[in-house]
Symmetry: none
Subunit: 190 residues, 4 copies
DNA sequence: GATGAATGAGGTTTCATTCAT
DNA sequence: GATGAATGAAACCTCATTCAT
C-alpha cells in the first residue's frame, strides 16, 4: 500500500552528495535515510547493502558523465578546442558547486586498498575520462602522445580539485584548465 | 605487563601506515593495537583518543617533511635544480614505497568536511610544501609567478600520485617530475 | 527480530527498579537490557543514551506521583486528615514494597554534584511533594508555617526511609507518619 | 628510594572528599590519585583495592566521629542540653562546609543493595550515632523512649541534610536542630 | 513499499589492577 | 614507595542489516 516516497534516481543522487561530503565509511545508512526522507530499513528495498548502494552511486555518476560530458569529446561537429571547453564547463559546474571535491577521487583515496569492487568501477570511470581527453588531443597529436597528455590533464585536474578543497581557493581549477588549453595548442613534439 | 613495548615514535609510524592504507574511519583502534603489538586499551596511555592519535600522526609526518625534505629547498649550497631533485628523490621514496598514495591527501579527501582539526593540520603541511617549492622557483621567477608554479607543481604531484594509485601505474610520477623540471628551466613569462 | 517486545512504559518501569536498587553508575545498559528481555543495543531505539533513559525514569516517576499521589492533597472532597492519610498509604505501598528506599533520594545523593540535569528534575519532584504537603497544612496553618511543616515532613519521611533501608527496620516509617499526623493536629503557633 | 609523598591519613581524607562528592562507582582510582598527587598505581601500595580504600574511608570517618563527636554525648561534665549542642556544632561544621551532604548517607543510598561490606560498616556508624543521641535523651526519658527519640533525631538530621543538598538551602539543618532541642525539653510521655 | 523494532557485531573508551624498573 | 606502561574486561554506543506488520 505505501506509496513510493522517492525514486531510485533521487535516492542515488541524494546519497551521492552525502558520500562525497562524508566519505564512505563515515556515512551511515541513517545519514542516507535522512537525506532521502526515509527510514533506514526502507533503503534495503532498493539496494541490498550499503556497498551495493555505493556501487550504484559510482556507476550512475559514471554513466552520467559518459552521456553528458565525455560524449562531447567525440562530437565531430566541434573543434578540439570547443570540445575541451565543453568538458571544462561541465567540470566547473560540478567541482565549483560544492566544496566537497570529486566523489570519485574522494572514494578512491579512501577505499582503494580495502574495497576492490569500488576501485574497479572508479578506475573504469577515470579510464573513460582519459580516453575522452585523448580523443581530443588525438586531433593534433600522435596516439601515444595524446594519451600521455590526456593522463597528465586528468591528473592535473584532480590535483587542482584536491588543492581547491584543501585551501578553499577556486583559482586552482581555472589555472589548470588554462594550462590544458595551452597543451592542446602547443606544438606536437615532433 | 609493564615496561614499554613500543616507543611513541614507533607507535605513530606504525599507525601512519595503517591510516594511509585504510583511511581514518575504517581504521579501528584494534587495527592500530595489532600493528603495535599492544592491546586496544593500551594505546590510550599514549593518546587520549583516536582523533588525537591521528593528529599526532599528521603532525609527526609534517615535522618529518620539514626537516628531511622541505629543508633542501632552502639549502643555499645547492642550485635550484639540485634542490628540486632532492625533493623528487624523497617523493619517490615515499610514494613509490607502497601503493597507498599520500597520507595527507588520503586523509584530507576523506575527512575535509567533517574533521576540521585535521584539515587545519593538513593544509599547514601543504602550505609548507608549496612554500618550499616556491622558494626553489624564486631563484628564477618573480614571487607571484614562483608561487603559482609551486602551487601547480604540488597539485600536479598529488594528481599524479592519485592516478598512480588508482591505476597502479608508476609512470605518472616520473613524468610529473619531468614536467616540473621543465617548468623550472622554462623562461620566465617576461 | 522485529515487532515490539516491550512497551516504552514497561521499559521505563523495569529500568526504574534496577536504578533504584543499584544506583545510576553501577547499573549498566546490559543490566537494563536483561530486565527488559532485549539486547543492549535495542535500548537505544527508545532512548538515545543512558542519561536520557534515567531522565525519562525520573520524569515518569514524577508524573506518576503527581497524578496518583499528590493529587489527593488538593482533593476538596477530603479533610486534611484524609488527604494526609491518602499520601501515607501510597508512601507505604512504595517504600515498603522493596528494601531499596526511594529512587529520587538514591539518585539524588549519588549524582547531585555531577549530573545537574538529574538534580533539576529531582528537585522539581521534591518541590511538588512539598507543595502538596503544604496545601494540606494550609487548611489549618498560615502559609509560611504550612510550608515549613511541609518541608520538615518531607525531610523526615526521607530520613526515615533512609534509616529503614540501612537498618532494615520498617518501624521508622510508621512512626514518622504518626509524627506528621500530630503536626497536623497540633495548634498553630499563634 | 622514592620518599613517601603522602601519609595514609591524608590519602584517606582526600579520598573521602572525592567519594562524598562523586559517589563510589563514579569515582575512579585516577580521581583519587589526582587529589593525592600520586599515580593510579601508587595507591595500591596503601590499599589493596578500591573497595578496601572505601572501607578504610568509612572506618576512619566512623572512628573520627566516635572520638571527636559522639564522645561528648557521654561527657558527664555536661548537661544534656550542652551535649546536644556540642553534637550540633559539629554537625554544622561538617554538613555546612560543603554542599555534598553526608558521606555515610551518600554511600549508603548508592551501595546498600550491592556492597554488603559497606552496609555493615555504615550501619555500625549510624548505630553509634543513635546510641550517642539516646544517651543524651536518657537523662530525661526512659530507655525505650530515649531510643526512639534518638532514632527520630538522626533520621531527621539526615533528611534535613538531604533536602539541604537538593535545594541548596541551609535553613533545613538549623530548623531540624531546633526541633531536636525541643524534643529534649518536652515532657516525657510517661 | 515503508516502517520501526530488534539484532549482534564491532566501535571507541574507561577502568581497576598488575608489575618491572 | 613511586612510577608508568600494560592489561583485559566491561562500559557506552553505533551501525548494517533483518523482518513482521
Amino acid at each position: 500500500m505505501p506509496k513510493q516516497k522517492i525514486s531510485e534516481e533521487e535516492l542515488i543522487w541524494n546519497s551521492l552528495k552525502v558520500f562525497k561530503r562524508k566519505g564512505y565509511h563515515n556515512t551511515s545508512m541513517a545519514d542516507i535515510a535522512e537525506v532521502c526522507g526515509l527510514q533506514k530499513g526502507s533503503i534495503y528495498h532498493h539496494f541490498k547493502s550499503k556497498e551495493e548502494l555505493m556501487k550504484a552511486v559510482i556507476t550512475t555518476m559514471h554513466e552520467h558523465y559518459n552521456k553528458e560530458v565525455f560524449a562531447y569529446a567525440y562530437d565531430e561537429r566541434l573543434t578540439p578546442e570547443e570540445r575541451l571547453q565543453k568538458l571544462e564547463v561541465y567540470s566547473n559546474k560540478i567541482f565549483l558547486s560544492s566544496n566537497s571535491g570529486c566523489l570519485m577521487a574522494n572514494i578512491a583515496l579512501e577505499t582503494n586498498d580495502t574495497m576492490p569492487e569500488f576501485s574497479k568501477l572508479i578506475s573504469a570511470f577515470f579510464q573513460d575520462w582519459i580516453n575522452a581527453m585523448a580523443s581530443i588531443f588525438n586531433k593534433k597529436f600522435k596516439t601515444e602522445q595524446a594519451l600521455n597528455l590526456a593522463k597528465e590533464s586528468v591528473a592535473e585536474i584532480e590535483g587542482a580539485v584536491m588543492m581547491m578543497r584543501i585551501f578553499d581557493e577556486q583559482a586552482y581549477l581555472a589555472r589548470c584548465h588554462q594550462r590544458i588549453f595551452e597543451k592542446l595548442q602547443s606544438d606536437p613534439i615532433n
